[in-house]
């Protein structure tokens, strides 16, 4: 085997990957950044260079401002709730008070929401949250509400409703990952902690949390990026309405591009989203490499 051939071998194995990633990842990213500096791209054959005009238009659009506010609410509440529910369920499934069978059954039940695609989740929750739906019935019967609530059609509660749906659909990822992490913690650590006379709360903060830290950081970063990009669930439940009440950055970009055909504006919004995600992505890559 010649030296040249040996040099080229790994690249041959990587060739399909490199071609795919160049054409459908690198080139599109360069294109979308380019689009964001021109007017009327895609529709107009000869777009004009406008510099940062699209950015200043997007950033001064009051709807975009509302979208950022809604997105922050949606993302922060979602990831905190995902974390708390995932942690609670993982701890519950890890207690020594339950048998192996019981744990297995409940693990399946609690993981179920993760198995459904966004359009199924959206449609099922639209049915349940309908003013004549089962949730209003149950809450009326329990005396929690006095009149039917328009969960997805009222400006006051739509964002909270959509966030609730997202919480339901996302926590199992934390639960399963944290459970895997909990099972990896050595029992010696817990025994040592018990010998030191630590109570359950102290053990949780001194042993469990520090041991889970790398997993938790990865989870929070991945979830932040994913929730920030959440489009399907919002699009199919409220479509960003009523009157922008659930407009997020993703639905804003989609509407600019695919409803209003303002691809230049959409590109500027998409690049802003990409920058935010890249910053988190850099931390995620560092975190993953530190683990290797």
């Amino acid at each position: 085997m010649t030296k040249g051939k040996k040099f080229i071998t790994p690249y041959l194995y990587l060739l399909p990957t490199i071609i795919l990633m160049c054409i459908l990842l690198i080139v599109p990213i360069v294109m979308v950044i380019g689009y964001s500096f021109y007017d009327n791209v895609i529709i107009n054959k000869n777009p004009v260079f406008v510099g940062l005009e699209n950015y200043s238009k997007v950033l001064s659009d009051p709807v975009f401002f509302v979208a950022i506010k809604n997105t922050l609410f949606f993302v922060l509440i979602s990831i905190v709730a995902h974390f708390l529910i995932g942690m609670l369920f993982a701890m519950l499934l890890n207690t020594r008070y339950l048998g192996v069978m019981t744990k297995g059954i409940f693990r399946v039940i609690y993981a179920l929401p993760w198995m459904f695609t966004a359009s199924v989740i959206a449609i099922v929750w639209r049915m349940m949250l309908n003013p004549n739906g089962v949730l209003n019935y149950l809450m009326t019967n329990m005396g929690l509400i006095s009149e039917k609530v328009e969960w997805l059609a009222s400006r006051d509660v739509a964002l909270a409703s959509v966030t609730l749906i997202n919480i339901w659909s996302g926590y199992p990822f934390y639960m399963i990952s944290i459970l895997a992490g909990l099972q990896g913690i050595s029992t010696d650590l817990y025994e040592a902690s018990a010998l030191d006379g630590a109570n359950a709360v102290q053990t949780f903060f001194r042993i469990t949390i520090p041991q889970l830290k790398p997993i938790l950081i990865s989870l929070l970063m991945l979830d932040f990026v994913w929730t920030l990009q959440q489009f399907a669930l919002i699009w199919m439940t409220t479509g960003g309405g009523p009157v922008n009440a659930t407009e997020t950055i993703s639905t804003y970009i989609y509407k600019q591009g695919f409803s209003k055909y303002q691809y230049s504006m959409a590109s500027a919004g998409a690049v802003i989203l990409l920058i935010v995600c890249t910053i988190i992505g850099i931390f995620y890559v560092r975190q993953q490499k530190a683990g290797d």
Partner: protein, 278 residues
């Protein structure tokens, strides 16, 4: 005293288990129950739990409508192709990462890890002109290739991890016997990696089966639509046939539920690989 404390803990655990079950399971139960009701009973007040008019009509309506059957054929075909091609290309790439050191390895690896942070909607805008100029708009090809941008990196990372656990002596022995590298990869490295391939395959299937945004924007005619887009189309077209939408939701969720219930270990391994390091 200790016995008393234990009892309290057990009561709290049971209460939490019940609340958790209602929280996680009720929407799914409600979906299933409503798929067997006539449409007029969906918003009955008070709600009917198990309908006296229990029927499979909603399922019959889905199975006898060629347009809706087509959504399923499309989803199965696209997901199967994405899984197959992702695994083949992923195995080749993982071999390069696992067995070679070469200039550019670090950069390619960083790009592959970072893909998980790239928003699909950012790529979708340039795809609208790129996919059209590649003459792939409204074809399986458009969805297969764009899905692979997200499935392939995950496959490569997981498979590289698997190959790294296999000693280099194994494939070198084949090459000393006069076998090619290519043969060493397929005959020595791939067979012991089957559990990893199953995990990756399932995760890939789930990503492809559940994808919505690209399927919505890169296809146009109903004969090219996938199940997630199809379920949502049902909403506008048929003036809210809720029972049919529920039946289609149940049918559309079965493949993933099946994989999860019967291959739980592999499924969970695929799902947690991004955050849990062994």
């Amino acid at each position: 005293m200790i016995g008393k404390k234990k009892l309290w803990v057990q009561i709290i655990i049971i209460i939490l288990l019940v609340i958790g079950t209602i929280w996680a399971g009720f929407p799914i139960l409600w979906m299933i129950l409503n798929s067997f009701k006539p449409n007029s009973e969906i918003f009955a007040w008070p709600p009917t739990w198990i309908s006296e008019n229990f029927s499979l009509d909603a399922y019959k309506a889905i199975f006898t409508n060629p347009e809706q059957v087509r959504f399923f054929i499309n989803s199965y075909a696209i997901s199967a192709i994405v899984v197959t091609v992702t695994l083949i290309i992923g195995i080749l790439a993982a071999y390069a990462f696992s067995r070679f050191n070469f200039p550019g390895k670090g950069i390619i690896n960083t790009i592959i890890v970072a893909v998980q942070a790239v928003p699909p909607i950012t790529l979708l805008i340039p795809y609208m002109s790129l996919i059209v100029s590649l003459k792939l708009f409204n074809t399986y090809g458009a969805l297969i290739l764009t899905y692979m941008v997200f499935t392939l990196p995950y496959a490569i990372l997981m498979l590289t991890g698997y190959f790294n656990t296999l000693p280099k002596d194994l494939d070198e022995a084949v090459m000393i016997d006069g076998g090619s590298r290519f043969k060493a990869l397929w005959s020595v490295l791939v067979p012991p990696s089957v559990p990893g391939l199953v995990s990756v395959g399932m995760y890939t299937f789930m990503q492809a089966w559940n994808e919505y945004l690209f399927a919505l924007a890169l296809t146009k005619t109903n004969d090219m639509r996938t199940v997630p887009v199809g379920i949502n189309l049902l909403m506008g077209q048929h003036a809210y046939e809720w029972n049919q939408m529920m039946a289609m939701s149940v049918l559309g969720s079965l493949p993933i539920l099946f994989l999860f219930l019967f291959f739980q270990k592999y499924f969970i391994a695929g799902m947690t690989a991004g955050s849990v390091k062994n």
